[in-house]
């Protein structure tokens, strides 16, 4: 892409940012204009990402559309972006969900200008974290995401929003700051061994450290990602943040931000420190399965619809982690597939929560019942999305879960059996929730005046449900694009085990930096 001044990926990063700046120039009274402009910019990013999807070479597992611009050459820091079969779909998921999230923001009354501004900045931040191939750059995007999300929860959230927002930031930063130390340490070690200072991920892959050093670094990275996923027992920020956030905020949190953690494991923690990852895999698998069962059990007891969906995320993301740490092709592919599926189905569930909350200003499941009679269209969507989330064959959730169990079974049959019980628990709480919400008699008189979905709301849900069906019936276009990149990641793990370990020479004192 070197012939372009601004490459494909940079353009996708720039579009929402430019949109955010344009918003600042529009007076705040022009509500409709503000909303339309931000919708158009997020749609433009989506259209451009579809072109990326077309141009993507499915047979190639390497990084594609790579752009390199020197930034701080004396420190080996560069602007490097690129995508492979793993990040491609996460980029698409982001650009796909963002216009829908903005469409769902129409009912936001207060301070809409700032709200949309933060949404678009957030989009750039998330996309940047998925495409960055320089650890310094990645860290910047990783932290940049935090600020707009903090404002979105803190200003437009529910009653306990300030507490939830601060908890979200402090938890995330606790992990990421230690990751920063690990990043600097890693680059410094690379400079000892290879005499070149660089933060370029693809080069750092070639550094093979002794196992105990790897373990420390892996733990620093893993803590940061585990908090984001969230892996049990680092999940306690999630119910607060998800419940207090405005609808679009919850959708983005569950749909995209949580994937940042699992993506981080797959892109950084595992291939950079493969020996440590292998050594730690049993622990992480155990935590993942505990998370699956714990999340499901807690979700079952929730009286609040939104909290139920929030805890179901803990359970579903446990499956993703189980798949990734099976460290074989089925497990990892299933994990990625499940990331996308979860982004769609949980995103849709949060949209649906928001839609009835807008009507009734309550999210207590007991306040509803018999909605089928009053809101048939809503109920159909809820039904499909819930089934997708349970993992009904023919819908997207099934493929991911099946592949994960397949991959994990060959590694740890015991834990996999326990995880399979989690699927049953998931079916129980989801179906029970359905029964209490939409079936049965319409007992509450307030619910008799409820109106069914508007055109705008249909427009939000229809594309998601369409994708849920497509991914459930025809997974091949997705899996075939992931496979080469997953193969390559696995190959890195295998070669690294065979590679000679970097010696510990020159740990103090002299260090060469490149370019001087």
């Amino acid at each position: 892409m070197s012939q372009f001044a601004v490459g494909h990926l940079s353009l996708i990063l720039l579009i929402p940012l430019v949109g955010a700046v344009v918003l600042l120039l529009i007076p705040r009274q022009q509500r409709q204009v503000l909303l339309t402009v931000s919708l158009l910019f997020s749609l433009a990013a989506f259209v451009w990402s579809m072109r990326l999807f077309q141009a993507f070479d499915a047979g190639n597992g390497d990084m594609q559309f790579v752009e390199r611009v020197t930034w701080m050459p004396a420190f080996g820091i560069a602007y490097i972006v690129g995508i492979d079969g793993i990040s491609l779909f996460l980029v698409l998921l982001t650009t796909f969900l963002m216009p829908l999230a903005i469409l769902a923001s129409w009912p936001v009354r207060e301070k809409i200008k700032e709200y949309l501004f933060f949404m678009l900045v957030l989009e750039t931040g998330m996309l940047g974290a998925f495409v960055a191939l320089d650890l310094f750059l990645f860290y910047i995007f990783w932290e940049v995401m935090l600020v707009p999300m903090y404002f979105l929860i803190g200003i437009w959230g529910g009653a306990r929003r300030i507490y939830a927002a601060l908890k979200f930031v402090v938890y995330t930063m606790a992990g990421s700051l230690l990751m920063l130390v690990a990043i600097i340490y890693l680059a410094t070690r690379y400079a000892h061994v290879h005499q070149v200072l660089t933060f370029d991920l693809l080069q750092l892959y070639n550094l093979h450290l002794p196992v105990n050093e790897q373990t420390w670094l892996f733990l620093a990275f893993a803590l940061s990602f585990a908090i984001k996923v969230p892996l049990f027992p680092f999940h306690t920020w999630l119910p607060d943040a998800h419940v207090e956030a405005p609808t679009a905020g919850s959708v983005i949190l569950a749909g995209i931000l949580l994937k940042m953690g699992t993506y981080g494991f797959l892109r950084f923690a595992i291939p950079l420190f493969p020996n440590a990852a292998l050594a730690m895999a049993p622990v992480i698998i155990a935590l993942a399965v505990i998370g699956i069962l714990y999340g499901a059990a807690v979700a079952m007891m929730q009286a609040d619809f939104k909290k139920l969906v929030a805890y179901s995320s803990v359970s579903h993301l446990g499956f993703v982690m189980l798949g990734l740490f099976a460290l074989n092709i089925q497990g990892i592919q299933g994990g990625i597939y499940q990331m996308i599926s979860h982004g769609l189905s949980t995103g849709a569930l949060f949209f649906l929560v928001g839609m009835i909350y807008d009507r009734r200003h309550t999210r207590m499941i007991d306040d509803f019942g018999g909605l089928w009679q009053q809101m048939p269209v809503f109920s159909v969507f809820l039904l499909i999305v819930t089934f997708a989330s349970i993992g009904l064959p023919g819908l997207n959730g099934f493929i991911g879960e099946f592949l994960i169990l397949l991959g994990a079974f060959s590694v740890t049959p015991g834990w996999t059996a326990a995880a399979a019980c989690g699927i049953i628990l998931g079916a129980i709480y989801m179906l029970w929730m359905l029964r209490r919400l939409i079936f049965g008699p319409l007992t509450h008189p307030e619910n008799q005046k409820l109106v069914d979905l508007s055109h705008r709301e249909l427009l939000i849900l229809a594309p998601i449900v369409a994708l849920i069906l497509i991914m459930g019936v025809y997974p091949q276009p997705f899996l075939s694009r992931m496979q080469p990149s997953v193969d390559l990641t696995l190959k890195r793990i295998v070669t690294s085990q065979a590679a000679p370990v970097a010696t510990n020479h020159g740990t103090s004192g002299e260090m060469k930096t490149d370019g001087r």
Partner: protein, 479 residues
Amino acid sequence: MDASLIPLLPGAQVLLTALVVMLLDLFIDEHERGLLAWISLLGLALCGAEAILLWGSSEGTFGDTLLLDNFALFFTQIFIAVAALTVLSSMRYVRETGIHEGEFYSLILFATTGMIVMAAANDLMVFFLGLETMSVAVYVLTGMWRSSARSSEAAMKYFLMGAFATGFLLYGIALIYGATGSTNLNQISAYLLEPQGQWPPYLFVGGLLLLVGFGFKVGAVPFHFWIPDVYEGAPTPVTGFMAVAVKAAAFAAWARILMHELSPLDSDWALPLRVLAIATMTIGNLLAISQPSVKRMLAYSSIAHAGYLLIGIVAGEEWGSTSLLFYLATYAPATFGAFAVITLLTEQDKPKEDYGHFAGLGFKRPFVAMAMSLFMLSLAGFPPLAGFTGKFHIFRSAIIAGHTDLAIIGVLNSLLSVIYYLRVIVMMYMNEGGVKGKSFIESPYLYTAVGLAAAATIYLGVLPMRTLEWSRSAFSSLF
């Protein structure tokens, strides 16, 4: 004695401006005194231009007691930039609070002269001369708001504590002179590098006293007690000046004396410095969390930042010193900007510095609040702002020097600091009420100062290379 006057130029320029301002003040009418601020700015701008033109020189004068090298010039640039911002942000403030303008501006300039001498001093006596010129001027500045009891109290406290610290420094200088036979840094260094059996034990006592004196001046724990009261009591623009320029001057002298010339003693004060750094960061941050006033919180935050800077001193060598200089450059705009925003909230000589006074600011004054958020996020170390690049290089230097544990303690401290910096943002954006319509100092110059500080915060975060390069060559010029 062969005495080239060129190395004196930047300092003399500021001194001359100070004298002009002071004299002119006697002859001009009350309502024309605004002119004095412009004269001060002109003088500072000329000094800045001279400093740019002289970049790269390394000339000593008066028997090498004063050395104008890149190190001195780098700090000179920081001092005059902060002094200029202080003048800009005080133009309206001094009228509101009834501070006498002529004296205010000339004292700022005198203090700046002292700092420039401190950064260029190559002799312990000259360093002491600069330090006293600066300190005496700042003592007076602290107490200049005469209708405020807090201000007078702060001045008294500052003076007593400052005099105490001066005593330590002077005693330390005397002992070092006794041991080495010279106050000139080059000769002291030469003495220390001589291969010989024993150094007299009071040399170490002298070094330790010097350390204590510097600890007082930069506000390192446990020598920090004066900082919160003095920073809170002083007129806010002066507080900004103190928190940035005075601190930078003390670090400049510290870096030149302890890190370079006395570096053969490194192994002896590695441990005390480590303890000092850890205590300063941790205690500064912990105490900042519970402060009810933003101004006081910033005072404690400046203590915590002195702790991060000490990591640079502990790390030492090339990267430690470069990142120390760079960190000072990144810390300056955010801290000064934050104090400038507090200045803005002053109403009719009533300061409004509590968290509550920031409530609702986000939607009443979007640009002021946005700037304040930038400053807070930068101080908390969020990328891509100046504070992040500063911390990145400080922690990196610690890791390179093998002090990974210090880097970890440093990042955990940043986490603590997030709690109180974000509280300001919570107040501005997530609480209603607070400031009513006309309660701001409406001054275009003050807004300019805030805007410049915000621009610098972003610039140093996104494009830090040039300043890093300057810091590096400033450090190399010491050798």
